[in-house]
């Protein structure tokens, strides 16, 4: 039973850790994306005609909201990509043909205008795709919201389950000591005095669970982070929260939550026995 209590607290906290890491990483991504806020990239089809190209350029230029427009050739795009990938750039050497499209890089006065510009350009012939950050940011924010909400629901359910498990575990101890508790009450012990040792028991379960989950989450995430970093996905890890910045916060949050869950569980287990 003690094992079940500790395990359930550990499980809650590990899932909490995963949700936290995901949310923090998405926030990072949002911040990063926001620094490129005002950029719209209009990718062009490879077989675009000069006429179509001019029409697109003119449409963009006619928009008052646009502050600048730059034509980026596929070769330039590849150069930029090589720079960004740094030591992993050799991977791009093997390409027989440059897969990147030509594009216009458009800057708008304000992020809010990007929808307007996109709307005008969208339907034009020769446009392959439009990537603009407002859209991505909105989606990311929404995604973070879902994760936060889903995570909270899962954590709440698991918390209730672990409080229940702990309260049942402590109930066994309380039941074994019920005679002592009843005598204590007759000689005038306060509820607080009687609760004390049981709350300590619950808080200890919580602390052990917290310790385990702190170790698992910190080391597990460190390992994952390095593994991802090692295997070429540099671009990806840029957005992951660095493990070192997590240790302190996770330790504090987990300890507090673990002890809280333990204390609540033991309070619940005593409720019936204290009403003498």
């Amino acid at each position: 039973m003690g094992l079940a209590s500790v395990t359930s607290i550990t499980a809650v906290l590990i899932i909490l850790g995963l949700v936290l890491i995901m949310i923090l990483s998405i926030n990072n991504l949002v911040v990063e994306a926001k620094s490129k806020f005002d950029e719209i990239q209009v990718f062009l089809e490879d077989d675009i005609s000069t006429e179509q190209l001019y029409r697109i350029e003119d449409t963009i230029k006619e928009s008052q909201e646009v502050s600048s427009i730059v034509y980026q050739t596929k070769d330039q795009a590849l150069e930029i990509m090589k720079e960004e990938w740094k030591e992993d750039a050799y991977l791009l050497e093997g390409l027989e043909e440059n897969p990147l499209p030509n594009s216009f890089i458009v800057r708008v006065e304000d992020i809010e205008y990007s929808d307007l510009v996109v709307e005008r350009v969208e339907g034009l012939e020769g446009v392959e795709d439009i990537v603009y950050y407002k859209d991505i940011i909105d989606r990311l924010v929404l995604f973070a919201k879902y994760i936060r909400f889903g995570g909270m629901v899962v954590i709440a359910i698991l918390m209730i389950i672990s409080i229940f498990i702990i309260s049942n575990t402590i109930k066994i101890t309380v039941f074994a000591r019920r005679d002592e508790i009843s005598i204590m009450k007759y000689v005038g012990a306060t509820n607080g005095y009687i609760r004390g040792p049981f709350i300590i028991e619950g808080v200890l379960f919580g602390l052990v669970g917290a310790l385990l989950s702190i170790l698992i989450v910190n080391f597990g995430y460190q390992y994952l982070f390095e593994a991802v970093n090692d295997k070429l996905y540099v671009l990806f890890t840029v957005y992951l929260v660095p493990p070192t910045s997590l240790v302190k916060d996770i330790s504090i949050i987990f300890s507090a939550m673990g002890m809280g869950i333990g204390a609540l569980g033991s309070l619940l287990s005593l409720k019936r026995f204290l009403n003498v």
Partner: protein
């Protein structure tokens, strides 16, 4: 000291255990509550200990109205009332000394206080030499003496005993009565519920007789019942 005013107690299942009971017990008195099983004696005691709430009426303890006190004050009421039960209620895994000192530890007494008061309380009941025995090494009468010692170690003004001799043979019962009398002589008010006819008749103390939840008799230097022949006639 203890005053019941028009107390009625109806249990949740509808049983009317006490109806319009009024009773005043003065400081230093020794009072027997007598009556057949189910008369309402234990109910009366549970009301003083705040184990249950009265349905109607008011209860005063030390001139304080304890009819409606919050849960937080109940421990303080119980500290001023020592209690002894028919089934002793000792902790089997603690020594005699620990069973008594336990009552002081719980209320936060200092070590010095504990080491002074526990031996005094054990001597009071004649168990000074058995301090380090465990309950299973003691006789029934000795069990009850430990319980009494625990009840008085804190010097409460009132000692309440619910059938304290109910599990004991007559000789042992008399030993317990001697202890209770000694305690009463030192100024503690003693309230004892019992149906030990012989003890009540010999002791010549105040007797409050309860039948079916009503006080039917209350006399100083009383006896268990007047017409001993009554019972036989009804049969």
């Amino acid at each position: 000291m203890i005053r019941f005013v028009d107390i009625t107690k109806v249990y949740k299942n509808g049983v009317k255990a006490l109806s319009s009971v009024s009773l005043t017990i003065k400081k230093g008195e020794f009072v027997f509550i007598v009556g057949p099983s189910g008369a309402g004696k234990s109910t009366l005691i549970k009301l003083i200990l705040k184990e249950i709430e009265p349905t109607e009426g008011r209860i005063y303890l030390n001139n304080e109205d304890i009819t409606e006190v919050g849960n937080r004050k109940i421990p303080h009421i119980r500290r001023s009332v020592g209690t002894v039960f028919q089934d002793f209620r000792l902790l089997p895994n603690k020594t005699v000394y620990e069973n008594v000192s336990f009552a002081l530890e719980i209320i936060g007494a200092s070590r010095r206080e504990i080491s002074r008061k526990v031996p005094a309380a054990l001597n009071m009941v004649g168990l000074g030499s058995k301090a380090y025995c465990y309950p299973d090494q003691l006789s029934g009468g000795e069990h009850q003496r430990v319980a009494i010692s625990r009840a008085i170690v804190n010097n409460p003004p009132v000692l309440i005993a619910d059938e304290p001799t109910g599990n004991l043979d007559p000789d042992t019962s008399w030993d317990i009565m001697d202890v209770l009398l000694d305690i009463n002589k030192k100024g503690t008010t003693v309230l004892m519920a019992t149906h030990a006819k012989e003890i009540v008749n010999v002791m010549k103390k105040r007797v409050v007789a309860i039948e079916a939840g009503r006080i039917v008799r209350d006399e100083q230097r009383g006896v268990y019942e007047h017409e001993v022949a009554n019972t036989e006639e009804y049969i």
